[in-house]
Symmetry: C2
Subunit: 144 residues, 2 copies
DNA sequence: ATGGCACACGTTATAGCATAACGCAATTGA
DNA sequence: TCAATTGCGTTATGCTATAACGTGTGCCAT
C-alpha cells in the first residue's frame, strides 16, 4: 500500500507525498523553496529534501506546479482545473510577474509573445523544449 | 594601486578581477558557472567564490554579462560594443535560446515581445525591474 | 503463481551555488 | 585630514539539488 491513492481533491491521481506537497503549495501566498516545503511537512513524516524534490518533479510534469527559475522556488499553477493541468493540451508558455517586495506572483499567458518566440525559434531551426518568462519588479500595491 | 585600471580591451574601466572574469567568459563557448570561472582563474590568484561573484555582479550591472537563471550560469553579452553595454541606453529585455545538448546560447531581442510584456505590466500596475526570457531546447545542429 | 518490470519511497552522503561578516588598502573629495 | 566609498582577500556558513543505495508494492505477461 504505497502507490497512488484516490486523490481527495487534485487532478491526476496523486501519491500521498505528492498530495502533501501540492496542498502546502496551494495554501501558500508566495513561492516556496523546496526546503521551506520540507520544513512544513516534517510533522507529516518528511525527513529529507529528496522526498520534496521527487514530488515536485512529478507535479511539475503534471503541470500542477511551476518552478520559478529566478527564485529557485515553486508555485502551484494558477490556472484552475480545466485550463492548465489537463494531460496533453498545453496552452503554451506561461509567464510570471514576481513582486520583489511582497513576494506575490501573477501567472499569465500571452499568445502573441508565444508566437513571436516560436517564430524566432522556427526561423533559427531551434526546437524549444521549455520556455521561461519571469518579470521581477513591484506589484501595484507595493509600488504605490 | 588597487582600483580601476585602464582596460586593455573592454568598455567601462574595469578592475583587474573584473577583466579576468570578463575575459574568461568572452572566450567561453558556453555559459559558465561561478565555480567553473573560479577554477579557470586559480592560476591568476583567485582563491574564493566571492572574488568571482563580486566581479560578476559588477559586470552584470554594466550590462557586459548576463546571468542565465535557468542554468545558474553566466555568459558574456553577445551585443558587441555599441549596442548593448552603453551606460544608460538599455535596448530592453534580452532573450536567450539555450541548447541543452551542446550548451550553445543565442542571445536575441524582440521589440514586440518587449512591448507585449510591458503592456501587460502597465495594465496591471506592475513595475518591472528585470525580465528573464529563456528558451531551452535543441539548436539546429543538435536537433538534426 | 511467479518472475520481471516500473515506480514510489526512505536514507545517507555529497555536490553545486551563493552570501555573511570580518578587516585591510586605495581613492576621492569635502 | 578625515570621512565616505569602493575593491579586495579570507573564513565560515547557508541554501539548493542530486547521486547512490536499498525497500516495498502493484501490475501483468508468461
Amino acid at each position: 500500500m504505497n502507490a497512488p491513492i484516490s486523490s481527495p481533491v487534485s487532478s491526476p491521481a496523486l501519491t500521498k507525498n505528492q498530495n502533501l506537497v501540492f496542498d502546502v503549495l496551494t495554501r501558500a501566498e508566495a513561492p516556496m523553496s523546496a526546503y521551506t516545503i520540507l520544513d512544513k511537512l516534517r510533522d507529516h513524516g518528511f525527513r529529507a529534501p529528496l522526498q520534496v524534490y521527487r514530488a515536485l518533479d512529478k507535479l511539475t510534469e503534471f503541470g500542477m506546479v511551476h518552478r520559478l527559475e529566478s527564485l529557485n522556488a515553486f508555485v502551484a499553477c494558477a490556472h484552475r482545473e480545466s485550463e492548465c493541468c489537463g494531460a496533453g493540451h498545453g496552452h503554451g508558455t506561461v509567464a510570471f510577474a514576481i513582486c520583489e517586495s511582497c513576494g506575490h506572483v501573477s501567472e499569465f499567458h500571452d499568445h502573441q509573445v508565444d508566437h513571436r518566440l516560436s517564430d524566432w525559434a522556427k526561423s533559427k531551426g531551434f526546437k524549444p523544449a521549455k520556455t521561461t518568462i519571469e518579470i521581477r519588479g513591484l506589484c501595484e500595491a507595493c509600488a504605490a
